[in-house]
Subunit: 348 residues, 2 copies
């Protein structure tokens, strides 16, 4: 367990402008579309004839993360990748981010340096420029707001609303891992609170911990589509859980679908932790969220292009709207209507 | 004094997706550059050959606003205009915003509706489209993060770093009002806390209250420059106080300047409240902040174009860097080096 607010140098020693300078002085802009980054009233960008995509996410302490067990470096990294995931879900390429933070005066400068190390690592790995932001104080916890900006040729853009009857329903990677990683962290944190001398039992679960703490966005998938010469009819990223995302996609495309329980992939660690905690991995996949995989639909004529691809599973197909949005159970083949979960403000 | 968290309908009755739908269902996109707004993984924008400018600001309860005396409608309006001010400071035109909010479950849906009324009113008045955002819960107070996106022809953009020796230093409007409006609100709030039956004494101060609670961004100024056929060599908006902004402009332009105390304009209400509170209006102008006027430099050959313009005051001129950044006092004509203030994280 980390101690994120461990005080070393107080923020007040730097002041706002000193803090901004410290956090942004090493930025090296890498994209041609970034004309001017941090340091003026606005960043200046140039996308020429390309279309511009914009998305934003807000992460708040105590709701989206718990600094008792989330290392700040990972948190910075995740705050960026969850936004980039939305850009890839448009079949676009992220190019810039802005990052705003509200921090309590309890947080040391060294702690903020760690947070920004994670942010810059993500910028490096995903080829995006940090071009702006705001730093302010918070009377309580840490809050991070990231906006990501990307570009795409008009003909490459994929929306949520293009799925057609008979299209294949596909997903990248495996599901449920991030949720079970969170359950493991919560369990060990509860043990730690009772007895701080207990060593957390995290061995053998590195994959699901990383899925939760330091998720990657699927930047390989738009590239793969190009290579395969295919383009999804609809796409969305999986942040709230498969169930909720399928419902968004079907509602916006005005279609129904059949999702097959036995086509969903789980990592071995996901299955093992699910068994240990007596959680059905299907529930983790449908309602857990934070997997940051891509859910998309393809014309059935594209089946040969993807059927042996290890990164893509066909998990069902699109139907007429009248048939509803159903999970087809593994054993009995029963059709069960999917329900949205999503965030509920009272739980926060 | 308002009661912003007056509970009517609980947020939990709607859930996240219901809340987003309610807050965004009446959006009518008005800009040609907005291809797709709220409702997909990203908004999609098209600026053709124009340059794109991006800025972002974070407002937190207890630091930037006090819901004891800030009406939510005004707060929503201000959260937008303070961002647009940064776009105008680039001599650009704002076109889109994203708005993310973190709200405590104490806040009612009706309270959020009020906040968004203010946001939409600003969108209407400034011709911008709300194209995205995020809603999440907060364990404590309200937090609003706005990102504004604008466009400009490359040749129209004005940065902070172009001021030249002998340029005129100019400012729009009058200064110090927002700070004195805040002092008035704080005073009346303190009285109210001691005796809730006391009626707040706000009459006769509508102008400075509006400067604080519902500031406007100077969208008329880029238009005026076009009409006059002039373009500033450098520009910045006044959010942290004139002193800090002049220092930014001079540092980034690598110049010095002479600012004349007797050239600064104050509204009568600003002067009256300053006298009542025993505050020097000069201090309010230099260090108070939140005036959201524009500070800019012009070649001295442009003097005739602006000298009789009621919206623009010439307050000094740019010098060689070696002369420093000085305030020239009204009576004695003493040169006093300007000091930055800005935000300090310990103050909260």
């Amino acid at each position: 367990m980390t101690n994120a607010t461990q005080s070393k140098t107080e923020l007040s020693e730097l002041g706002e402008f000193g803090l901004i300078r410290r956090l942004t002085e090493n930025i090296q802009l890498k994209n041609e579309s970034t004309i001017r980054g941090v340091g003026d009233d606005c960043a200046v960008l140039d996308f020429k004839q390309k279309k511009v995509v914009v998305t934003t996410d807000l992460l708040t302490e105590g709701v989206h993360f718990n600094l008792m067990y989330v290392p700040l470096r990972h948190l910075g990294y995740k705050a960026v990748t969850v936004n980039l995931s939305d850009v890839y879900a448009m079949n676009a390429t992220p190019k810039q981010i802005t990052v705003s933070i509200a921090v309590s005066s309890k947080m040391s400068i060294e702690a903020l340096d760690e947070l920004y190390e994670g942010i810059y690592l993500a910028c490096e790995r995903y080829g995006v420029d940090l071009v702006g932001g705001d730093t302010t104080s918070s009377l309580t916890g840490l809050l991070i707001s990231v906006t990501a900006i990307g570009e795409a040729e008009e003909e490459d853009l994929v929306y949520r609303n293009g799925a057609k009857d008979t299209d294949l329903l596909c997903v990248t990677g495996d599901l449920g891992g991030a949720y079970l990683g969170l359950q493991l962290l919560e369990r060990e944190n509860a043990v730690f609170k009772v007895n701080p001398k207990m060593v957390p039992q995290l061995e053998g679960y590195d994959y699901i911990l990383e899925r939760q703490l330091k998720p990657e966005a699927r930047k390989d998938i738009p590239v793969l589509f190009k290579e395969l010469g295919i383009k999804p009819t609809a796409m969305i990223d999986i942040s709230d859980g498969l169930s909720s995302e399928i419902l968004h996609l079907c509602t916006q495309s005005d279609v129904g679908c059949r999702l097959y329980e036995d086509r969903l992939l789980y990592d071995n660690q996901t299955k093992k932790m699910a068994a240990e905690l007596n959680i059905n991995p299907l529930v983790a996949a449908l309602n857990g969220g934070e997997d940051y995989e891509l859910l998309f639909t393809l014309p059935i004529s594209n089946l040969d292009a993807i059927r042996n691809n290890p990164d893509i599973s066909v998990i069902g197909y699109i139907t007429d709207k009248s048939e509803g949005v159903n999970l087809i159970t593994a054993g009995m083949g029963q059709a069960i209507p999917l329900q949205a979960q999503g965030w509920n403000p009272i739980k926060g």
